[in-house]
């Protein structure tokens, strides 16, 4: 019987799911535990699985590079380690990647609080962006010097756009 391995990652945690199809059921082995799943169908937008004892109800979305699962009011993003990530942003979602400050979402730059050459302390406000009618202060993640400012007050910026480049202090 053939099996498929799905290497996933959640944060720093590597997770390997091994799947086998056995007599109309899906056997999933994760961390040494095996569950035998069958579909209990679909209930008003919820995917319902049975592991023989309990029902598991949630929603699942499979992307090329990740799987998103909604269960009990929370959602988990599981990256697929076997799929090469496509280029794109490397900054964390709060817009404070190590070497630059990114727009956390589409909005308007209200204020730029630094200039190229400035030394900024960890937590210092670098740029203020307005989105959805609220102001958001983007702060330096670590003590850094500002190498480049790529936005100005009044600019419309897109999510992920680099606003300020930083060189973290050694």
């Amino acid at each position: 019987m053939s099996e498929t391995r799905h290497p996933l990652r959640h944060g720093d945690l590597d997770l390997d799911l091994v799947c086998r199809h056995v007599q109309g059921a899906l056997e999933v082995t994760a961390g040494g535990d095996m569950s035998r799943l069958t579909s209990a169908g679909d209930e008003a937008g919820r995917l319902v699985l049975s592991d023989g004892e309990r029902m598991i109800s949630g929603a699942v979305e499979v992307h090329d590079e990740r799987v998103v699962v909604s269960w009990r009011g929370r959602s988990w993003v599981l990256e697929r380690r076997d799929v090469q990530a496509r280029g794109g942003s490397t900054g964390s979602s709060d817009g404070t990647g190590s070497g630059h400050i990114e727009a956390p979402m589409t909005g308007t730059v209200i204020e730029v609080c630094c200039e190229a050459g400035d030394a900024v302390a960890a937590g210092a406000t670098v740029v203020v962006v307005e989105a959805m009618k609220m102001e958001h202060r983007l702060v330096a993640p670590a003590a850094s010097s500002v190498t480049e400012v790529e936005c100005a007050a009044g600019d419309q910026v897109d999510i992920g756009q680099i606003l300020v480049r930083l060189e973290p202090d050694a």
Binding site: H21, G24, R46, E61, V62, V69, G73, R74
Partner: protein, 500 residues
């Protein structure tokens, strides 16, 4: 006079909620929408709808002339403003009247009296209701700095025409005042078109308690219980309840009397809310009056069985209030506001397409929703997606129902605060009823989510990944397992390039 066709000058969940009552009362509803909302639920729910402009609110929902022109075009005889947007705009209410349409809200003079917070403070004093100690007057930076010293830090800087937490800043000491004034002015100017500010002493620990009022055209104002909305983040309410665990009957009566006195003093008519800060010894201070329907009105409806929008319409039609007084609560109701925001990244608002949406249901559960699966959440409007409410025989029962409902809400696409709401409802502060306006921000909320990934999540992920492989497979067994696959709506494959 009798209303026939009502323009709902709003969008999202509140527009939908108002339209449902219009339909229940046999009235026609008309919607206005921006270019970003052509497919929005409120447009589909209305009996007729008209495009009024591009996505930015100042060019559409906030443009009184365009809204009124649409109301005329669609033959409306009344306008319901919902909350936010033009709901507390006295000039708009006046323009409606000038155009021969009934504004479903209080008289223009009452909106003016309460809309300017400085004036509202004076009106409260005149009615014998103490406002929060503070300063309202000429607001140049120097005067504000002096007055802040006099009041004593910490102080709140507030937009005089504000509401909904916009244009509001807490200042701990003199060093932070200049920045706070600048930011609050800018936000106030952007949100309300007026940058005037006032100062208030930061009263804490205190609960946010508000009295729902109904006042008719026959000189009667009735308090319809209180709501507690102490749990706030950045002055935005997160969880609300009716009644409050901190209010006993005598205090309820004192608060209700104060609210009704103020309403009568300013000639208030319609539904409105008087907000107070209540300290632990039962002393209370008037904060402001909202001259409109509140976001959280639904908890009052669940506990009283009254439809507050219906009462707004009936009062506008000249009916006299017909409620057993004093209004007594039947059980308990709790509301949680679901926002498109990322609690793990400073609650930043999230935009993006809702790729999957399954709403909870069940006894005592109500979901006021203005979005649907497939809809794009844009940065143009408030990031609140829906409100989930639950009613039960007591606070514990209502909380249990609300938690179960939130756990059964599945929304994929933009991140939401649902997990955070569950943490709030599981917190000691909530369970013990020790809820104060500083609770969420000062004390934070412990995460109830286990570290790592629950096995159930891995099972669902595995199922999804295997389903995705199916088209390349000829394994006969798989056909059996996944025979229902194509009909499954709790599952979705996003093609390459489709997951922006």
């Amino acid at each position: 006079m009798s209303l026939r066709r009502v323009l709902v000058a709003n969008r999202g969940e509140i527009a939908c909620r108002v339209m449902r009552t219009l339909r229940a009362r046999g009235l026609e509803s008309a919607a206005v929408f921006s270019e970003a909302d052509a497919d929005a639920p409120h447009v589909r729910l209305a009996d007729r709808a008209q495009l009024i402009g591009p996505a930015p609110a100042p060019l559409s929902y906030l443009d009184a002339d365009k809204v009124l022109a649409a109301a005329r075009d669609m033959g409306c005889d009344a306008v319901h403003p919902g909350y936010g947007f033009l709901s507390e705009n006295a000039a708009f209410a006046e323009a409606c009247a000038d155009a021969g349409m009934t504004f479903i809200g209080p008289p223009v003079a009452a909106i003016r009296a309460m809309g300017d917070k400085a004036q509202a403070r004076r009106a409260a004093l005149d009615a014998g209701v103490s406002p929060v100690p503070g300063y309202a007057g000429d607001d140049d930076d120097g005067i504000l700095a002096r007055e802040a010293e006099r009041i004593g830090y910490p102080v709140l800087v507030k937009a005089a025409l504000g509401g909904g937490g916009k244009g509001m800043r807490l200042v701990e000491g003199a060093g932070g005042l200049a920045d706070a004034i600048r930011a609050a002015r800018r936000e106030a100017q952007a949100a309300f078109g007026d940058g005037s500010l006032l100062l208030e002493r930061y009263v804490h620990p205190a609960r946010h308690i508000e009295v729902q009022l109904l006042a008719d055209t026959h000189g009667r104002a009735i308090p319809v219980l209180e709501r507690e909305c102490s749990l706030q983040r950045r002055h935005q309410k997160v969880v609300e309840e009716c009644p409050s665990s901190a209010i006993d009957d005598p205090l309820r009566e004192r608060l209700g009397d104060a609210a009704a006195r103020l309403a009568l003093a300013v000639g208030y008519i319609g539904a409105g809310t008087v907000e107070f800060l209540v300290e632990e010894d039962g002393s209370f201070w008037f904060l402001e009056m909202n001259t409109r329907l509140q976001v959280e009105h639904g908890v009052t409806e669940m506990v009283t069985g009254e439809d507050l929008v219906a009462w707004q319409l009936r009062i506008a039609d000249g009916e006299a209030l017909d409620l057993p007084t004093p209004v007594t609560p039947r059980g308990w109701a709790v509301e949680a506001r679901v926002y498109a925001e990322d609690p793990s990244a400073g609650f930043l608002p999230q935009a993006g397409t809702i790729t999957h949406l399954a709403l909870p249901t069940g006894p005592g559960v109500r979901v006021d929703v203005g979005v649907r699966g497939g809809q794009e959440i844009t940065p143009h409007y408030d990031p609140m997606l829906m409100k989930v409410l639950a009613h039960g025989s007591d606070r514990v029962a209502a909380t249990g129902r609300l938690r179960a409902a939130l756990e059964d809400l599945h929304l994929l696409g933009p991140k939401t605060n649902v997990g955070y709401l569950l943490d709030v409802l599981a917190s000691d502060a909530w369970t013990t009823g020790q809820t104060f306006t500083h609770t969420l921000e000062a004390d934070g909320v412990a995460s109830t989510s286990a570290d790592g990934v629950p096995p159930e999540v891995l099972m669902l992920a595995a199922w999804g990944l295997e389903m995705r492989r199916r088209p390349e497979s000829t394994d006969a067994a798989r056909g059996d397992v996944y025979s229902a696959f194509d009909r499954l709506s709790g599952f979705r494959i996003v093609p390459r390039g489709g997951d922006a």
